[in-house]
């Protein structure tokens, strides 16, 4: 099939950007979205133009590198699917596809479709961990974790840190990302000692990074390739309120 792309091109962090149109002829429905872009880039290169820069690495939906706003939807039209796992069979001949970078004050554009998501790392650094330095851990089976707790923790821990929740949120809020980590650690017995310190410092970091607040639009949950639930956000708020009164 033949497609037309409108892609955000921006030479550098401070450069002026704009949407540029490209033809994408002879696209196979079995291609992944990124393979389609590869082919476009090959053609651009041989014709002496700069290829389109976009983040990607594992190409199997787990590393969280890929990050494209496709036709106004973070990670494109397919639910629970990262851009790299999206296949061209989700489109049809003659479609015009708009491709833009994640947009948020906290995610400055570096080039074309690549943004800086370092803010998410700093949120984790602020408290998204259990302080257990290497060595001296007791035997693993001395900590009993009820299956339901382990499953709930795993549901939240599935977050790949792609930032689609921020990109999709009308407020550019990082609530879902932050809440996912807080829920992951908060569901586990190992996570209890630092539970309330954690929520305070992570939420505080989220503010410092200039993310928006949560109006509960629910767009983040829909865009999340790992189906993280906004229930985690309620949980974060609950812990934040508790922390406010206790600590």
């Amino acid at each position: 099939m033949n497609l037309r792309l409108r892609v955000w091109r921006q030479a550098g962090p401070s450069a002026q950007g704009r949407m540029v149109e490209y033809e994408a002829p002879g696209v196979s429905p079995d291609m992944s979205f990124l393979e389609m872009l590869d082919v476009v880039n090959e053609r651009l290169t041989v014709s002496g133009q700069d290829p389109i820069a976009f983040d990607h690495d594992c190409r199997e939906g787990i590393c969280g590198s890929c990050s494209l706003m496709i036709n106004g939807a973070a990670h494109g039209p397919m639910k629970g699917t990262a851009t790299c796992q999206l296949h061209m069979r989700s489109f049809s001949d003659g479609d015009v596809i708009d491709i833009e970078p994640w947009r948020a004050k906290a995610f400055p554009v570096i080039r074309d479709l690549i943004v800086d998501r370092g803010a998410l790392d700093r949120i984790i650094g602020a408290g998204g961990f259990i302080s257990a330095s290497t060595g001296g851990a007791q035997d693993a089976n001395t900590i009993l974790v009820p299956k339901v707790a382990a499953e709930a923790a795993m549901d939240a821990a599935a977050c790949i840190g792609c930032g689609a929740c921020v990109a999709a949120c009308p407020n550019a809020s990082a609530s879902l990302f932050t809440a996912a980590k807080i829920s992951h650690l908060g569901h586990l017995p190992q996570g209890q000692p630092e539970r309330y310190r954690r929520v305070l410092s992570m939420v505080n970091q989220m503010e410092l990074e200039d993310f928006g607040g949560c109006t509960l639009y629910g767009e983040c949950q829909e865009a999340c390739p790992k189906g993280i639930s906004i229930d985690t956000i309620s949980r974060m708020n609950r812990d934040f309120i508790k922390a406010g009164v206790t600590s």
């Binding site: 196979s28 291609m31 041989v46 290829p51 998501r117 790392d121 984790i124 693993a140 382990a150 190992q190």
Partner: protein, 637 residues
């Protein structure tokens, strides 16, 4: 060069314990005076950087992704082994050690492998303490499964995302140290050269992938945890960015490269669908617990699977290996698939695929049970192929997955360059000629959390490196080299893209240095690769400049190194005329077509030494002595 493995004296069980006592310690007050460069933030690098930071060293950690959390360890699905014997099914440190040595077809170093098995138990404790959400039983105890045909249940797992969860554990510990300030993180930064002064590794040259700035970083010790080099084959289950540049540069600066030809081909991957294919996706091995592998009996039989009667099907693994059947080890299962496809009995468009059929399992257990076990994998398969595995059998084909070879290291994980340590998949250490499922995560974390932090201290305490600075001629010339190299790549301005060269190189490697290798093929490859490499340096087109984010330039540099490494792999494969593990030489097989080892002549590690541009590399041998295990032919019949 002489290869001294520095294996401590004493009985196998006591070696590590004793070594830890004998190693010199760095005075806690002095630790922060030492700078350690950690290249890589995967299970190896992430765990090491965090642990070294916790110890108080001044750590600089590098990765090419935008965040340390994206290292390719994230993609590991199946699980991680540990000799906990929680299932009371007769597992033990010794059994894990033995299985790993045997699985590696007796081409690994006993002492290292034993230490790995020993440490495996601490890994699980450490990870649970960090909050890794391993699968649990209803009673709250840890769950285990048997993996990759192991006879005991020793594999710990977190759904199909074990690697991700283990890496996030290490990553969170790392971010904690970064926030405290013991570790400085350099994401989107690629190591382009190693700086060696007076025979010691003293720093690296990097390129800032955002600004293009070339920078010098000085250190008292350098550690590489940069992962595997499977992308030499272009198509592999590795990430697009996975590269050999760091280890290859180090090799050119004096680090011996061990067993480069030992690569693992994973039997259950999704087949190639077209020219544009950019990478291959692994389907967890666990699928083989319930799926049955088959192809049509008749060559060229293009009928849809369900029009092919039982009597016209060949369940070749069950036929050839009655006792292991569909659970035969990776190398064997992969070769089986290749054979039947070579006979023209492969399925799917390309004829490069075999069926993995769940019809029986669904009949026996019902779709819900299968969904519970493999639901997410079935979904992933359907998303990619648009076929429903509940109705049509999956199509699978082997793909390059793991590289057992890597930089040679001694018992302390130090390479042949003083002060240069190598951990994780980047080194050659523990898996011999074939890696068992769920053992790489174990090795990465063992190296990173428990081995390296001790041995680096020993090195620093004994070597007491002197101060150097960026103006040292060695740094200057290294920076110069990097600059001239990038300028050269940008200057060629030819007709072909980097990817087109990479694809062609990959095809050569796959055809002649893949699942089955022979003398003629390897010699052919050794003519084709240098020729293609020359064309690359004449005719590649790398747009843009080096003063900006330039993904084409990044790729070009990596592919240039793959050419040289690919050549070395073929040289190694050619010289090792025996078959062992993942390395199958058609000249060396048993009457019934199984790999035939030659312990007489090849019970050694082939550590190749760089001899200069276009010089043939020098072979050094580390003879493998087996004091504790008896060498036996692997048989899974």
């Amino acid at each position: 060069m002489e290869l001294n493995a520095h294996v401590p004296a004493g009985s196998l069980e006591k070696k590590w314990d004793r070594h830890r006592f004998e190693m010199k310690l760095v005075n806690p007050a002095n630790k922060r005076k030492y700078t350690i460069i950690m290249v890589g933030s995967g299970l190896g690098g992430g765990a090491a950087a965090a642990s070294l930071g916790e110890l108080g060293y001044n750590v600089k950690c590098f990765c090419f992704q935008d965040s340390p959390r994206r290292a390719h360890s994230i993609a590991a699905q199946g699980g991680i082994n540990a000799a906990k014997n929680y299932q009371n099914d007769g597992d033990s440190i010794y059994r894990l050690f033995y299985d790993t040595i045997k699985g590696g077809d007796f081409r690994a170093r006993e002492a290292n492998v034993y230490r790995l098995a020993e440490i495996s138990v601490n890994i699980i404790d450490q990870c649970v303490a960090q909050g890794v959400p391993f699968a649990r039983e209803y009673g709250g105890l840890l769950a285990n499964r048997s993996f990759g045909g192991a006879q005991v249940s020793r594999t710990f797992y977190a759904r199909g995302q074990t690697g991700q969860q283990l890496l996030l554990g290490a990553y969170q510990a790392l971010e904690r140290q970064i926030a405290i300030g013991t570790v400085t993180m350099f994401p989107r930064t690629e190591m382009l050269d190693l700086v060696v002064i007076d025979g010691r590794a003293r720093g690296i040259i990097t390129r800032n992938l955002v600004t293009g700035a070339i920078e010098s970083h000085i250190a008292d010790a350098v550690v590489l945890g940069t992962g595997g080099y499977g992308n030499v084959f272009y198509l592999s289950t590795n990430a697009k960015g996975s590269n050999a540049t760091a280890i290859w540069r180090a090799h050119k600066r004096g680090a011996a490269f061990a067993n480069p030809c030992f690569t693992q081909i994973h039997p259950t991957c999704i087949p190639v669908s077209g020219e544009y294919q950019s990478k291959l996706t692994l389907m967890s091995e666990s699928l083989r617990n319930d799926g049955r592998v088959w192809v049509p009996l008749k060559p060229g039989d293009k009928r849809p699977p369900y029009d092919i009667a039982e009597s016209e099907r060949d369940y070749y693994l069950e036929r050839k290996y009655p006792s292991f059947g569909n659970l035969a080890p990776r190398d064997i299962a992969s070769r089986g698939a290749k054979e039947v496809c070579d006979e023209g009995r492969g399925v799917g468009e390309s004829g490069l695929g075999v069926y993995l059929d769940f019809a029986d399992a669904i009949r026996r257990l019902g779709a819900p049970v299968i969904a519970e076990r493999y639901g997410n994998l079935f979904e992933m398969y359907q998303r990619i192929t648009d076929e429903d595995p509940y109705k049509v059998p999956m199509r699978i084909y082997p793909a390059v997955h793991y590289t057992m070879g890597g930089l040679w290291v001694d018992y302390n994980l130090m390479s042949t360059v003083e002060g240069l340590h190598v951990i994780g998949e980047a080194n050659f250490s523990d898996h011999g000629a074939n890696r068992l499922g769920a053992s790489a995560l174990m090795q990465g974390l063992a190296d990173g959390y428990f081995v390296l932090p001790n041995t680096v201290g020993d090195y620093l305490a004994s070597a007491r490196p002197q101060k150097v600075d960026e103006n040292h001629p060695a740094f200057r010339s290294a920076v110069g080299d990097v600059h001239s190299r990038t300028e050269r790549l940008l200057g060629i301005d030819g007709k072909r893209t980097v990817d087109s060269f990479h694809r062609e190189l990959g095809k050569i490697m796959w055809d002649y240095c893949g699942m089955a290798r022979n003398d003629a093929g390897l010699r052919k490859a050794l003519e084709l690769i240098p020729a293609l490499r020359d064309e690359f340096w004449r005719n590649v087109n790398v747009p843009g400049s080096d003063r900006e984010l330039n993904q084409a330039l990044e790729k070009a540099g990596r592919v240039a190194d793959f050419f040289e490494l690919g050549e070395l792999m073929c040289i190694d494969a050619l010289h090792r005329t025996e078959s062992c593990g993942g390395h199958f030489r058609e000249e060396s097989q048993t009457p019934d077509g199984e790999a035939l080892r030659d312990d007489e002549n090849f019970a050694y590690v082939a550590a190749w030494e760089y001899a200069g541009e276009r010089q043939s590399p020098i072979l050094n041998k580390e003879t493998l002595v087996f004091e504790n295990v008896k060498l036996s032919q692997r048989s899974y019949k």
